[in-house]
């Protein structure tokens, strides 16, 4: 009976949040769903490591973050994909996520999605977990395997950049070239 301790209904219920996190990480809908699938597969493999009663969402986010980081490290070693990945990291270039039909949303919302796409991936994910998922800073630090201080500084930088972009201080076309 204890062979499959992952609570299946919770896992299914977590899918929309997993997809959202994956999209924010990858900036690409199709790649995001591949990432979700890989995360679920790892989750089943590691299911014995999950402790019943703890936050399943945070546990799955941790797996997803690690899968993403490993995949990215791997593709950096692959010369052919370096340029694509560097673009993702700089943000913007490969940010192909859906924006709701214009007539249904405010302009600020559309702009916000675009602005978030121009943040570095580590700031994007930290911001999502804190502001949208409303996770505790300590939980975020665990998910990302960084000290709480790093969470706070990423959050602060992300918010400052968003503020500057909203104020038009940072030109939309600005792209840092490495």
């Amino acid at each position: 009976m204890t062979d499959a301790p992952l609570p299946q209904p919770d896992l299914v219920a977590a899918l929309p949040r997993l997809r959202r996190y994956a999209r924010v990480l990858t900036g690409d809908s199709a790649r995001a769903d591949d990432l979700v699938q890989e995360t679920l597969a790892r989750g089943w493999e590691k299911r014995r490591l999950w402790q019943a009663g703890t936050d399943l969402r945070a546990w799955l986010f941790t797996i997803m973050h690690n899968v993403f980081v490993n995949q990215r490290a791997q593709s950096h070693r692959d010369a052919q994909t370096v340029s694509l990945d560097a673009a993702t990291e700089a943000g913007g270039e490969s940010w192909h996520v859906p924006v709701p039909p214009q007539q249904f949303v405010r302009v600020e919302v559309v702009e916000m999605i675009a602005h978030v796409g121009r943040l570095p991936a580590d700031q994007r994910e930290t911001l999502l977990l804190a502001a949208v998922e409303e996770m505790k800073y300590e939980e975020i630090a665990q998910v990302l395997s960084v000290p709480v201080g790093t969470v706070m500084s990423r959050l602060s930088r992300a918010r400052e950049k968003l503020r500057r972009m909203a104020d038009g201080e940072e030109a939309p076309s600005l792209k840092r070239v490495k």
Binding site: D3, A4, L6, P7, Q8, P9, D10, L11, V12, A13, A14, L15, P16, R17, R19, R20, R23, V24, S29, A30, D33, D34, V36, Q37, L40, A41, W44, E45, R47, P98, P100, P101, F104, V105, R106, E108, V109, V110, M112, I113, V116, L127, L128, A130, A131, V132, E134, K136, Y137, M152, L155, S156, R159, L162, R163
Partner: protein, 298 residues
């Protein structure tokens, strides 16, 4: 502790509602004295709110069936198949997302024009009729669940699966048979601690094949998510907002799919041993055609 030093982290934590109680009074007092600090807190809160407005609608999108499947069974065979067919599925995922996004738009249109399909509208009316009934919302109560399942299965000519929604706070009230357009429709009702009632209705509807999509309609304050799999049409109705109702729909869908695959009655998730026999083909087109023997999962 230095009462005059308010750090950036204090400001962020206050705005995010994460400032420890022992520090909170101090920071709030400082903010009351210094309008520029108050403005920074307000800025962060406005930004958070805009971020949620931007990213929360993604939660209401239809999840591709392949991901729901990946969340259901631990199945070694399926995994290796996925790995081999990866490029093809990547293409399929793109297509599914396109369709899903299209359907999201369609959901809006349906919602605005008030003309959901017959099935969704009927489900909403039936839900409104019975969920408002205090004394006899159902014909067979949850304490006779096994009998309810047998009855509904016999009348529909299709093995019924009554999802268990306890883990998301909804307990089974019971069920009944209701008249459909051409075919009898099964109805089961759930209720949470706030006395909100959900109904799941389904009837046999020979599949049109292809992808399962969740579609949304809204009728007189009742939200309905409805979908069709290979054998049945389902409608989940209730007074929840769209996002929450969709989350419940995912749970319902996942359980029904798991129950239809389970080879052994009664037991929850499918065998997880690596060598467990698994012959069911994963993927958009492949859903088991064999009548399921299992009754209730969870």
């Amino acid at each position: 502790m230095n009462t005059t030093t308010i750090t950036d982290d204090d400001i962020a934590a206050l705005a995010d509602g994460q400032l420890p109680a022992d520090r909170r009074a101090l920071v709030e007092a400082a903010i009351a004295r210094e309008p520029s600090l108050a403005a920074r807190v307000a800025d962060i809160r406005a930004q958070n709110s805009l971020l949620r407005d931007a990213f929360d609608p993604w939660l209401a999108e239809a999840v591709p069936p392949r991901l729901v499947e990946a969340a259901v069974p631990p199945r070694a065979v399926a995994r290796s198949r996925w790995a081999r067919a990866w490029p093809a599925y990547a293409v399929a995922a793109t297509l599914v997302l396109g369709v899903a996004t299209g359907w999201l738009g369609r959901g809006f249109v349906l919602e605005l024009s008030g003309t959901p399909t017959t099935f969704a509208r009927q489900a909403a009316y039936t839900h409104a009729l019975y969920s408002a009934d205090q004394r006899r919302p159902v014909e067979v109560w949850a304490n006779e669940e096994a009998g309810l399942v047998r009855w509904l299965s016999r009348r529909l000519g299709y093995q019924a699966h009554v999802p268990n929604l306890n883990s998301i706070g909804f307990a089974l009230v019971g069920g009944r048979l209701v008249a459909g357009n051409e075919k009898p429709t099964a109805l089961v009702m759930y209720e949470n601690a706030e006395k909100q009632r959900l109904t799941l209705q389904w009837r046999v509807s020979k599949g049109r094949g292809g992808e399962t999509e969740f579609r949304y309609a809204h009728e007189d304050g009742v939200g309905v998510f409805y979908w069709i799999d290979d054998d049945c049409a389902y409608a989940l109705s209730g007074p929840l907002d769209r996002t929450r109702l969709l989350q419940v729909a995912h749970v319902v869908y996942g359980q029904i799919m798991a129950a239809e695959r389970a080879p052994v009655p009664g037991s929850a998730p499918a065998p997880s041993a690596p060598g467990a026999p698994a012959t069911i083909v994963p993927g958009p087109a492949g859903s088991p055609t064999e009548p399921p023997k299992a009754t209730i999962s969870g």
